[in-house]
Structure formats: structure tokens, C-alpha cells
């Protein structure tokens, strides 16, 4: 089989696990990660006693240990304690928790960058803490965190290839299986790389479109300063 024939023949065999596993894993885990991140960021922003300490500990541990180790602990380690989790849910849990820690820091930073005076102004017009949070602070924080969060999403999409190590049949695992049969690593690894590249490119395009939509009021500001 020629190289091109092999690549054409394998394309769907790699892409389908991508559609069945890589993309759902990314979407589910990233959505959960955002929820975790928002909660953690809000707890830290408000300096809630005890809870913020717990959040700091969580971020410290998750960011300080390799993702692969975290996957192994949950999938190969927890069964020792009688906790057996299937590969896909195990991957979802680990990726959510891992990504949640990084995104929490992104969101917290963006929240703290919102000028504090707006919080005071919010109280003065009669809003309460939660109304200020949801109407003023978070919308602005989300806008400024958006590029960094998109970055995390793209990064995580590629990191899901690590889930192959805990027997999730995603694109990397599918590629390895074909290679084990035909022993032609170079074209096949390049092929899976290209598929990741296509997905990342699509996400980058989405990010651009999203940023453009979100940036309305900031663009207005730039125009004024440029004297346009």
C-alpha cells in the first residue's frame, strides 16, 4: 500500500474516534472545568474563609503535578481503594479538575482586573453583591478572560491525546492501533497531527469570531484614543 493510500485508508479510522471520543471528551470536560473555575474564582475573589484556602490547595496540587500522573492516579490508582471508573468518565473527571484549576486562575485574574470602583458604584446605585457580580464584574471579566480561556481549550483538545494512556479509544489510541498493524509510524503520526491541526484551526477561527463579537466596547475605546 502506498503512503497516500494508507493515509486515505486510515483517515476515517482516526477521525471517527475523534468524533466519538476526543471532541465529546473535550466539550464535556471543558464545560465542567468552566463551572469549577467560575466557582473557585468567585470564592477566591470574595476571600471566603476556609473555602478560599481549600481552593488555593486545589490549584496548588493540580497545577503542580503532571496531567499524566493525575490520569494514572484516578484510573490505575483508585481501584486500589475499590473505586473503579471506566476510561471515558475517568478522563472526563481528570481533565475537568485539571483544566478547572488553570481556568480558575485565568478568571480570577480577569475579575480582579475589573476596576474596584465599579463595585462601589454598583452598591451606590442599590445593587447587591450578586447583582454586581453578574451584571458588572463577570461580563467584563469574561470578555478579558476569553482569549486566555480559548487558549486553554485549544491546549486541552490536544492534551486529550494523553487519555490514550488510560485506554480511552480517542484519536491517538486509534492511530497507535493502526501502526501496530501496518508498522508505518511516520505517515500515520503525521496524519493524526494534521487532524489535530484542523480541529485547532477551527477552534482558533471560533475564538477570533468570538473575540470580535465581545470586543465591541473596547474597540470603541481604542478608536477614541486614536482620535478617529
Amino acid at each position: 500500500m502506498s503512503t497516500l493510500e494508507l493515509m486515505a485508508d486510515s483517515f476515517l479510522k482516526i477521525l471517527l474516534p475523534g468524533i466519538r471520543m476526543t471532541i465529546p471528551l473535550t466539550i464535556i470536560a471543558f464545560s465542567i472545568a468552566l463551572v469549577i473555575a467560575l466557582l473557585v474564582a468567585m470564592i477566591q475573589y470574595a476571600h471566603v474563609k476556609v473555602l478560599s484556602e481549600i481552593c488555593r490547595f486545589y490549584i496548588w496540587v493540580v497545577r503542580g503535578t503532571p496531567l499524566l500522573v493525575q490520569l494514572y492516579v484516578v484510573f490505575f490508582g483508585l481501584p486500589d481503594l475499590g473505586i473503579i471508573i471506566d476510561p471515558f468518565p475517568a478522563a472526563v473527571i481528570v481533565f475537568s479538575i485539571n483544566e478547572g484549576a488553570y481556568c480558575a486562575e485565568t478568571i480570577r485574574g480577569a475579575m480582579e482586573a475589573v476596576p474596584k470602583g465599579q463595585m462601589e458604584a454598583g452598591y451606590c446605585v442599590g445593587l447587591n453583591y450578586w447583582q454586581i457580580m453578574f451584571k458588572v464584574v463577570l461580563p467584563q471579566a469574561f470578555r478579558s478572560a476569553f482569549p486566555a480561556l480559548s487558549n486553554s481549550l485549544i491546549s486541552m483538545t490536544k492534551d486529550t491525546s494523553l487519555a490514550a494512556n488510560i485506554t480511552v479509544v480517542e484519536m491517538m489510541m486509534a492511530t497507535n492501533r493502526i501502526i501496530a498493524r501496518v508498522y508505518r509510524p511516520l505517515p500515520l503520526y503525521i496524519e493524526v497531527g494534521i487532524i489535530y491541526l484542523i480541529i485547532s484551526t477551527a477552534l482558533t477561527a471560533l475564538q477570533r469570531a468570538g473575540e470580535k463579537r465581545l470586543r465591541r466596547y473596547e474597540e470603541a475605546e481604542v478608536k477614541i484614543h486614536a482620535g478617529v
Binding site: 476596576p115 454598583g122 451606590c124 442599590g126 445593587l127 447583582q131 451584571k135 458588572v136 470578555r143 475605546e221
Partner: protein
């Protein structure tokens, strides 16, 4: 209408307010003058609970609260009857001018949207910015931002508006429009407490002037008394009489 007694406030070892009494009657325009670090901004911020005074009482519409023990609910209730204009405007940057003015009505006071929009538009007209309703703060000049902030303050029909150096962050040529709006509010009988460095505004518009230094009120009285016949040498020196 609003009376505070014995307000004290320290930041760490620094005693910023050393027992200040102040009272504002309905329709008054009270200006607070004084050098930087005299405690005037802290005083006005304490009166709206942006800083928590260490001691003292506040009487609003006949009800007296203790600064040391007033609860969150009472603070929220008092804030709904007042408004605050900041030196740095503090507009909500993710909202247009009209949204800035409306949010205190719709979200905080549950005014129906159409009515809130009508009142917000009227408030913007009042400050001369009817044509800037859909502009974001980033698209407005400093003076326009501060006028939106004033529109936001008057839209909720407050019993008193606190102004904390409303023109100090503006270019000299932009202060005029803001001061003109404040003059016209005063002429309409709005009760105002104004911390300011604008001497001519204080002299011409206020019904009562307070000169502060070192966390205490050095002297107070009518503008004529303060500007023309100050009793304290310090007041005279500050006003360069």
C-alpha cells in the same frame, strides 16, 4: 434630613476622622473644602458606608443608626435613598450610557423596563447627553462620563446626592459642563453634599461651607462667612484670602 455625629475613622494607626459632626437639610448644598489628606473624602465615603466608620451615628429621615452596629440590610436600604458621584466616574464599562442609568432602576428597584428607559432618557437629557444614550463609556469624554454618572445618580430620585471631587479627574476645560449640571441641580432644589476643590462653585452655589483639616471641621458657615470673614487663620490661608 441627614445628620451624622461623632464620626471617627482610622486606617491602622492613622486617625483620619477625629469626631466629625455634620448635618444636611433638605434642599441644602453643603460643600466640604480642605487640603488633601484632611479626611473630607473619607468623611463622605463613610456617610455612604463605602468606608466603615469606627464610631458615630447617622440619622436619616428621623431614624438613627450607629455606625458600629448598622447591618447590611439597613445600609442597602439607606443607599437606595441616596446616590454617589465619584471622582473617577466609575461607570459600568460593559454597559451603554442608558444602561448605566437604567440598571439602578430595573435591577435594584424593580422598575418596569419601559418606565426605567423613559426615566433614564429623561435623566440623560437633563445632563445634556440625550444623544449619547447608546454610547459606551469608552466612547465618551471625561466630562461626558461624569455627566452620565450624574444622570445615573439622579435617575433614582435620591433624597441626597454625594459628590466626591466630581471634577478633579477632569481636564480644566471639561469641568465647566459638569459644574453647570451641578449648578442646575442645585437650582432645582436637589440636596447635595459636595467634596470639592472648585472654590468658585463652593462660593456661589453652596448654602453651607465646611472647611476641614486634620480629620476635624476647622470652621463652617455660609459661603460669605467662610470666604469673606473666616474666623480661623488656617481657613484664611487655605483660601488665600
Amino acid at each position: 434630613m441627614l445628620e451624622c455625629k461623632g464620626i471617627t475613622k482610622s486606617f491602622g494607626a492613622l486617625e483620619v476622622l477625629k469626631g466629625v459632626d455634620i448635618s444636611v437639610h433638605k434642599g441644602d448644598v453643603v460643600t466640604i473644602l480642605g487640603p488633601s489628606g484632611s479626611g473630607k473624602t473619607t468623611l463622605i465615603r463613610c456617610m455612604n458606608f463605602l468606608e466603615r466608620a469606627d464610631a458615630g451615628t447617622i440619622t436619616f429621615d428621623g431614624v438613627t443608626y450607629d455606625f458600629a452596629s448598622i447591618g447590611k440590610k439597613e445600609i442597602a436600604m439607606l443607599r437606595k435613598k441616596t446616590a454617589f458621584v465619584f471622582q473617577e466616574f466609575n461607570l459600568f464599562l460593559n454597559m451603554t450610557a442608558i444602561q448605566n442609568v437604567m440598571v439602578g432602576l430595573t435591577t435594584a428597584r424593580k422598575v418596569p423596563k419601559e418606565e426605567a428607559a423613559k426615566r433614564a432618557r429623561a435623566a440623560l437629557e437633563r445632563v445634556g447627553l440625550g444623544d449619547r444614550a447608546d454610547f459606551y463609556p469608552g466612547q465618551l469624554s471625561g466630562g461626558q462620563k461624569q455627566r452620565v454618572a450624574i444622570a445615573r445618580a439622579i435617575a433614582t430620585d435620591p433624597e441626597i446626592i454625594f459628590f466626591d471631587e466630581p471634577t478633579s479627574a477632569l481636564d480644566p476645560e471639561l469641568t465647566g459642563d459638569v459644574l453647570a449640571v451641578m449648578r442646575s441641580l442645585a437650582a432645582d432644589g436637589m440636596t447635595m453634599l459636595v467634596v470639592t476643590h472648585e472654590m468658585s462653585f463652593a462660593r456661589q452655589v453652596s448654602s453651607h461651607c465646611i472647611f476641614m483639616e486634620g480629620g476635624v471641621i476647622v470652621e463652617e458657615g455660609t459661603p460669605e462667612q467662610i470666604f469673606e470673614h473666616p474666623v480661623s487663620q488656617r481657613t484664611a490661608t487655605f483660601l488665600k484670602l
